[in-house]
Amino acid sequence: MTEVATYYEDVAAAPAPAPAARRRRRGAGFWVYLGVATSLAVVFVLPIIWAILRSFQPARLSSLAPQSADFTQMTFSNYRAVSHGQYDILPNLLNSVIVGLGTALLTTVVATLAGYGLAKFRFRGSGIVFGIILLALMIPFQAVLTPLYLELSDLHLTNNLLGLILVYSTFNLPFGVFVMRNTFQQVPQELVESARVDGAGFMFTLVRVMRPLIVPGLATCAMYAFLYAWTELLQAVTFVQSPEKLTLPAKLYEVTTSTYGSINNAYLSAGVVIAMVPCVILYFALQRYYVQGMMSGAVKG
């Protein structure tokens, strides 16, 4: 599975040719390429830059046509407005952080254990376990929304961040288990055997011996789970109704539907940027794992 990912990484990370060689190849074709790619890059990045600039626009201007003079009046007032008082989104931000980190932690721990078990132990029923996880991959959460709601409601897990964490983690598990199983399969069996011969228990082997080798898998798994929980909307609005328990996207949705008047835009624009920041930071910081995860989740498995 990772041959492709590694290959892609290698090629993408390959150092640029030496300047002399590069200059020789820079014909008209190169400039056409650069022009096309740059224009496309502008199209792809413009709405995001625009959204960031928008969040610094004074509320009273946000319902008027944009003009260049807007740049002279940039302000933090929208961020101040959403951090206290009537339109406070900080509690929702905290909810999202809790749910995001909780989902990342639970998914990673459970997927690591299962990946370890599937890759390094033979046991009766492992085929069934594999089948169950495969099945979970085929069932989109959208399709079991109503029974899940009734179930969570019976368990007193609606309006409850723990309920969201449990459900988000479960629907991230199939991907996580595959990533971790593949990761463990790449750990040499001799390493495991020698640790066992030395009298190490399976948990010691996992935590002390294999840890350095499985860090990339852990990072991929945790990051995907976090981002899923951070941006999910349908379950967030279904399983949680009380305003103080809403996650950030659900709160922003509430802002779009409520009648805060023309200042809607101002609050929403600040909230959008706050929602974007962790995604973009994680992407740039862990880009290697991001692409690898995408490839392992996509190309082969």
Binding site: P47, S63, L113, A114, S126, E151, L252, Y253, L268
Partner: protein
């Protein structure tokens, strides 16, 4: 996604990677117990929140379950009603239309981006990063951005389009059915083509350069190379990209829920199920719809497995 392709290799590897025959016996028994113990939390979660709800759904769909209050068994009445429900049928037709509209452009743009950066020329890595950025931000956040920018007068979309001379006056994009669908489709293409690009890039990097060199020797044109080498070699990646995109469109919710809030007629299947259950309180009926969706998605996924099976490993 697409894990079946991996299954034979898993069995193989597990056998090879597991304890050798010599060490079987008491040790193997203990290892077996440890293995089962290790997978049990995952199994418990999946059974509790995927398999149980799925079984529960079958039961609920055979009742007239309201959100609150008593219910009774109604047999297949919900399914019979579905066939004649114009609202549900409309959401199905609408979702299929939307899928048909966005799938080709997502693929073509994604393919174009992957092909453009294939040679890994100057800046390719940076461009790839940028093209994938909308996907990273997430569809809910992207929809909120355009919730602001699609507004007439104040929104950035009208502003830029009028500067470019494409539209002359303010458009209430999200109010009219056609313009809302156009706007949402363009946004989704912008959002999702980076993912297709990434999947196809992975496939393209696996095509041996010698094939292209041989074609160059024969004097093949760019089109001939794409048509005769790239497309056939990318079969698996293309199938995967298309199916991920189709499933994503079948399950569309966020963009319509956020951007077409008051636009009756632009409800996707998932949105219709959500409304039937939680605003019209017909949980039993909504669950019957959801089970139909499960069947469709399962069929598409199985079709994916068939497409991705057989041929050689990349």
């Amino acid at each position: 996604m697409g894990t079946v392709a991996d299954k034979p290799r898993l069995t193989l590897r597990t056998r090879r990677g597991g304890p050798t025959r010599k060490t079987r016996g008491a040790q193997s028994k203990r290892a077996s117990r440890t293995g089962a113990l290790l997978v049990s939390p995952a199994v418990v979660l999946v059974v509790a929140f995927v398999l149980f709800p799925l079984g529960y759904a079958v039961y609920i769909s055979l009742t007239n379950w309201p959100l609150l209050g008593p219910y009774h068994f109604v047999g297949l009445a919900n399914y019979k009603e579905l066939i004649h429900d114009s609202g549900f049928k409309h959401s199905v037709v609408f979702t299929l239309t939307y899928t048909a509209i966005v799938t080709p452009p997502i693929f073509i743009v994604g393919y174009g981006l992957a092909a453009l950066l294939r040679a890994n020329r100057f800046g390719a890595k940076l461009f790839r990063t940028i093209f994938f950025l909308p996907f990273v931000v997430g569809l809910s956040t992207v929809s909120f951005i355009f919730e602001i920018e699609l507004q007439p007068n104040s929104g950035g979309v009208d502003f830029i389009l009028s500067k470019l001379g494409i539209v002359s006056d303010a458009h209430t994009w999200t109010v009219h059915e056609t313009s809302a669908l156009i706007a949402i489709s363009v946004i989704v293409v912008w959002f999702a083509s980076g993912l297709t690009m990434l999947i196809l890039t992975g496939g393209m990097q696996g095509i041996p350069a010698e094939l292209y060199e041989a074609a160059d020797v024969d004097g093949a044109s760019w089109w001939a190379k794409e048509w005769r080498i790239t497309l056939p070699m990318l079969r698996r990646s293309i199938a995967l990209a298309l199916i991920i995109s189709v499933i994503g469109s079948f399950l569309a919710f966020n963009q319509f829920y956020i951007l077409a809030q008051n636009n009756v007629g632009l409800e996707t299947v998932v949105e219709w199920i959500y409304q039937t259950a939680f605003t019209r309180f017909q949980v039993g009926y909504a669950t019957a719809m959801a089970l139909c969706l499960v069947v469709v998605i399962a069929l598409v996924t199985m079709f994916q497995f068939v497409l991705l099976r057989d041929d050689t490993e990349l």
